[in-house]
């Protein structure tokens, strides 16, 4: 049934730290690698080596320039994937029951044997988190690595989503956001974690941690300053070297 199952007590999800994400795309690649052989149909690519390649990926990393009023711009790397929303519109619009949310842990999944590939769930998702697979013609989305996190064939330390495991800068955290005492919940509390597009009413489970405040500083025209500095005569030893080289040359 694509009616939402009521509120699940357990809400497994990710907490993504925008302060430490370096935009390396390791999570993107490890996600594709795991999920092309994991849950459901492979994540196919079409025309992968041609002029116009396209393929299904479950995680995408953007980069934004954020400019506080009167200050210098900052760069923020921004991973984007399914937020396993509590009020998931992608679930309720599905005509077949293929798209569903699990009561046990809140994970939002697609039953690929039922999916008719109508695409309506992707239209309903504000976050672009669902991509149609160009070969299997079914909807693909983040499964929170449902085939890793409970997988007793894997060593304990590998029982977390592939993206979390791969992140070299510990910018991704996995846990139960329904438990206020869990590590991830405490992290969200401590760092002021926030929802994406709260006005869409989806109540995402995944949270984002804001970049830590930068030292406030007047915006400077560093381009011009840098050039001017380069033309100044150095002092001390470098100054002597500079003058000596001038004489030689």
């Amino acid at each position: 049934m694509t009616c939402l199952p009521g509120t699940s007590a357990k809400k497994l999800g990710l907490v993504i730290d925008l302060d430490t994400c370096v935009g390396c795309h390791a999570c993107v690649v490890s996600c594709k690698e795991w999920n092309t052989g994991g849950y459901g149909a492979p994540l196919s690519d079409q025309n992968a080596y041609g002029a116009d390649p396209v393929g299904a990926w479950l995680n995408r990393v953007h980069a934004y320039e954020v400019t506080p009023a009167g200050q210098d711009a900052q760069i923020v790397h921004f991973p984007r994937s399914c937020l396993h929303c509590d009020d998931a519109p992608c679930v309720t619009v599905c005509p077949t029951g293929a798209s569903y949310k699990r009561l046990a842990d809140g994970i939002v999944l697609v039953d690929e044997d039922w999916c008719i590939g109508c695409g309506l769930c992707a239209w309903a998702c504000p976050y672009g988190a669902r991509e149609m697979d160009g070969q299997a013609n079914v909807m693909k989305k983040c499964t929170l690595c449902v085939d890793r996190i409970y997988n007793e064939n894997l060593p304990e330390e590998d029982r977390e989503p592939a993206c979390v495991r791969a992140c070299p800068s510990r910018a991704r955290h996995f846990g139960d956001l329904g438990d206020p005492q869990s590590e991830v919940s405490l992290l969200v509390l401590a760092r002021g974690g926030f929802d994406l597009m709260p006005e869409q009413g989806t109540r995402p489970v995944n949270k984002y941690l804001p970049p830590r405040p930068k030292q406030a500083r007047e915006a400077t025209d560093r381009g011009a300053a840098g050039v001017a500095a380069g033309h100044e005569r150095p002092e001390g030893f470098l100054g002597w070297l500079d003058r000596a080289l001038d004489k030689l040359g």
């Binding site: 995408r60 008719i116 109508c118 309506l120």
Partner: protein, 314 residues
Amino acid sequence: MRPAYSIVLFTTASGAGYGMLAWLGILGAAGLLPMAPPFGLAAFALAVALVGTGLIASTFHLGHRERAWRAFSQWRSSWLSREGVAAVATFVPVALYGGGWVLLGRTQGPWAVAGLATAGMALLTVYCTSMIYGSLKTVPAWHNGWVSPAYLILSLASGGVLLSAVAALTAEAPPELTRLTLLALAAGLAVKAGYWRHIDRPDDASTAETATGLGRIGAVRALLSPHTADNWVLREMGYRVARRHAGTLRRIAVILGFALPLAALGVTLAVAGFTGALTFAAAVSLGAGFAVERWLFFAEARHVVTLFYGEQRT
């Protein structure tokens, strides 16, 4: 949003078919339509053909058509599922009413009840179609109070024009039908004008700042795309071809879809003699105009996911 031709065909053709059924149901039950056998036969055949074509076309964009039957199951939450159920259920009163009309020549008494049920179910189906789009909060150009009235009125307008053409070519166009169709066309034009004015005001609820949550720091500008080529999401929801030509296309939709049919049908009321040719011309013009209108409905609509990709507003 990408305007898939199958969806444009589905919504316009089935809309016109259900509009015809609605008029057949209401005006037939009221005894205001010609009872000549060729008219009934042709009218029901065309209406059912349009509805059927639309429904079949709607399955063309599915990745797995063989599983389409599963779409009838989630009527409790999904408007797409409700639309499927309503569309199939409508065939029951249509079969009864159409059978009574065409085979027995009866539209009164209990048959009139079937007629009213036909009209009610036809309009309910069109409403469900409109809500597939109207329920999507992610597309502000669809999630507003103009969309359902536009679908319903345009369905009645196109159904009225087609039914007038069938009547004029097989029997005689009843003036009541012509007048009501003129009314529907005028109302449709007003609703579309209101709709366009509404969507031309940018929707500020979601922005690049709320999408990324980085508005708490400052103004947000997309710097690097996550992928160097297109992806399915952008092809489906980042469609932007129409925007440059939107003004021209709207004018074409207004002229072909509303102005010419209004003029042609208006003339048939005033001048006798050319009714068949004029209503036929009105139907052809309206078909082209409404296809452009429906294409624009998709092509002009922006999805909030584009806010992650550099759009500031939707």
